[in-house]
């Protein structure tokens, strides 16, 4: 009974924790610019994420190591430092985007510019990390994040042409602007497969003392939780495709355009539900990204680490999330547009994925770490193919999208 409760809670937190500023921004952009035709990117990104999350849980259970630990032990300090540098840049950009998302949600409901909210938001996040426990952060914020289910409700209220929606699940070439299409596809993949998610998940498995009886639960949580989370991301894309193109809005260049996305379906409440979804999910993701970075550094350097411990017993761990929050708040406080920051950071994430994922795949195939719980050929092939594809498309589209063709 207790395990069933833990599995249910795990699934709920996975659903609530899946959505954040990256998904909201990239799915809205995709829906406005290309209708339903980029739904496939959410699907393949989720397939890859399910594999990676399941692997990181399995790795923690089988080896009693976290991913960061494993990379340092298997590949040595130099390679670990390179991985640390790349993932830290990605985490910093993602954290700045999430803080921007919360600040914007507060701007929408208060009418006060988002820059003014940057410091209070960062301070609140820091305070919660300093005082809170792992369970409080993972369960509390992620359960509140279920408010994002309002996007799914909006889809049914708007009743889309389901056949066209189904067609969007099959990858197709775009009828216009292939570079922009590729860039948005890559941004969606970057938003879905955020490295902090599996760093956070593997550390959580150790924080919650998962033993070998949790292999099945891990698989269920990863598969069902992430799949339901992807349904919300797909719902955002579908609603955007129904709301924007008929109004002549065929691209999204600011969160001001996204804010009224739920209003046609849910009326006045739609606006506040959107602001609530954006604020809560981004706040949850900001906490997870900060913790993900603190876990990565502390585990990599062999420091004490636990969100449940008092900061005085793991000062290095607490210093990392404090420093990261202090740096990440700067672009938001000086007024850098959170949407620009988000789209850019998601594309950079896609570009950086192989540096974190490929060594992790080596670990998952190493008997010394996982014994008989090694990867099968299906998971290896699926993850390598999706990460390889997103890396190549990101490599081509990112410079061309920024500097022109």
């Amino acid at each position: 009974m207790k395990k069933l409760f833990q599995i249910s809670l795990g699934i709920v937190t996975s659903v609530g924790g899946f959505i954040e500023t990256g998904q909201i921004a990239t799915s809205s952009q995709a829906g406005a610019a290309y209708g339903f035709s980029l739904l496939w990117a959410i699907v393949i990104g989720t397939v890859c994420l399910v594999f990676l999350i399941e692997m990181s849980g399995r790795f923690a259970i089988a080896s009693r190591h976290t991913v960061a630990d494993g990379i340092r032990e298997r590949f040595g300090s130099n390679y670990f430092l390179l991985t640390l540098l790349i993932i830290s840049i990605v985490n910093l950009l993602v954290l700045a985007s999430e803080l921007g998302g919360v600040a914007l949600a507060l701007q929408f409901v208060s009418g006060v510019g988002f820059q003014w909210w940057a410091l209070p938001v960062a301070f609140t996040a820091w305070l919660l990390l300093w005082k809170g426990t792992f369970g409080m952060i993972e369960d509390g914020v992620a359960i509140l994040g279920l408010v994002a289910l309002c996007f799914v409700v909006a889809v049914f209220v708007m009743d889309p042409p389901w056949l066209d929606v189904a067609k969007g699940l099959i990858p197709t070439l775009p009828h216009k602007e292939p570079l922009h299409y590729g860039f948005i596809a890559v941004s969606i993949l970057g938003a879905v497969i955020a490295p902090f998610l599996f760093l956070f998940y593997s550390s959580g498995a150790i924080e919650e003392k998962w033993d070998k009886s949790f292999f099945g639960a891990n698989r269920l949580i990863a598969t069902i939780g992430m799949s339901f989370g992807a349904v919300i991301a797909a719902a955002i894309l579908i609603v955007a495709a129904l709301v924007y193109p008929p109004r002549g809005i065929t691209d999204i260049e600011g969160y001001d355009q996204i804010a009224p996305i739920l209003t046609p379906a849910l009326g006045k409440w739609g606006f506040y539900l959107f602001a609530g979804s954006l604020g809560i999910t981004c706040f949850g993701a900001a906490l997870e990204a900060s913790l993900g970075q603190a876990y990565l550094v502390a585990q990599g350097f062999g420091w004490n680490w636990s969100e449940d411990a008092k900061p005085r017993t793991d000062p290095g761990f607490a210093l990392v999330y404090t420093g990261l929050l202090a740096i990440a708040v700067l672009p938001v406080a000086v007024g850098v547009d959170p949407l620009q920051l988000t789209i850019f950071s998601m594309a950079i994430t896609a570009l950086a994925l192989p540096f974190g994922v490929v060594p992790f795949l080596f670990l998952m195939n190493d008997r010394n770490f996982v014994g008989d719980h090694r990867n099968g050929w299906i998971s290896n092939t699926a993850v390598l193919a999706i990460i390889g594809l997103s890396f190549i498309v990101a490599l081509i589209t990112l410079p061309l999208q920024i500097f022109g063709e």
């Binding site: 929408f108 009418g111 922009h180 860039f183 600011g254 355009q257 009326g267 850019f344 920024i402 063709e405």
Partner: protein
């Protein structure tokens, strides 16, 4: 051919477009832009000068098509922001979004349109585009002002006018597809 990127980094995008811009259409200024050296060449070697002039003509044609594409992209951006302002004001008219949000969001739309308009070259070729952007901003400001002061009928009327003008201009600039 240089086509501006689509990442929403608007400032960078238009700065790039401006910096890489090919020379403007020679007819704009109503005077010859041939440098003295070329004029001397034309006098001394008529055959060679024809080749040089043909090359110049080709370069001008390419530059025109590049300018057309850039203008098309810039006007698409203008219509995007104008449609966004229209959507937000329409929702405000029906009390679906709060006033504070509307003010900030519509101000941003107006600013973006003004920025794009100010980045258009000051030549007669771009005159209609600049005029369209200014009129769109005027209509947005008028509708915003009426709605702000609870004169909802007038606000609705300005929104209808904005909608029609935007649709008409989309056709003019080939941005209705």
């Amino acid at each position: 051919m240089f086509v501006v990127g689509r990442v929403p980094i608007a400032g960078v995008k238009f700065r790039l477009a401006r910096d890489f811009c090919v020379p403007s259409f020679a007819g704009d200024e109503g005077r010859s832009q041939l440098p003295p050296a070329l004029r001397m060449l034309a006098k001394r070697h008529p055959l060679l000068s024809k080749t040089v002039l043909s090359a110049l003509l080709i370069v001008s044609l390419v530059s025109c098509s590049s300018e057309d594409e850039r203008l098309h992209e810039q006007m698409k951006e203008v219509f995007l922001w104008s449609a966004s302002a229209e959507m937000i004001l329409d929702m405000r008219l029906n009390a679906l979004v709060p006033e504070g949000f509307t003010d900030l969001a519509v101000q941003r739309c107006e600013k973006q349109i003004a920025d794009i308009s100010s980045q258009l070259p000051h030549t007669s070729r771009y005159g209609p585009a600049r005029a369209a952007a200014v009129k769109l901003n005027g209509l947005i400001a008028a509708a915003h002002n009426e709605i702000d002061h609870d004169r909802l009928e007038q606000g609705r009327w300005h929104l209808v006018e904005l909608h029609h003008y935007e649709r008409e201009q989309r056709k003019v600039f080939g941005a209705d597809g």
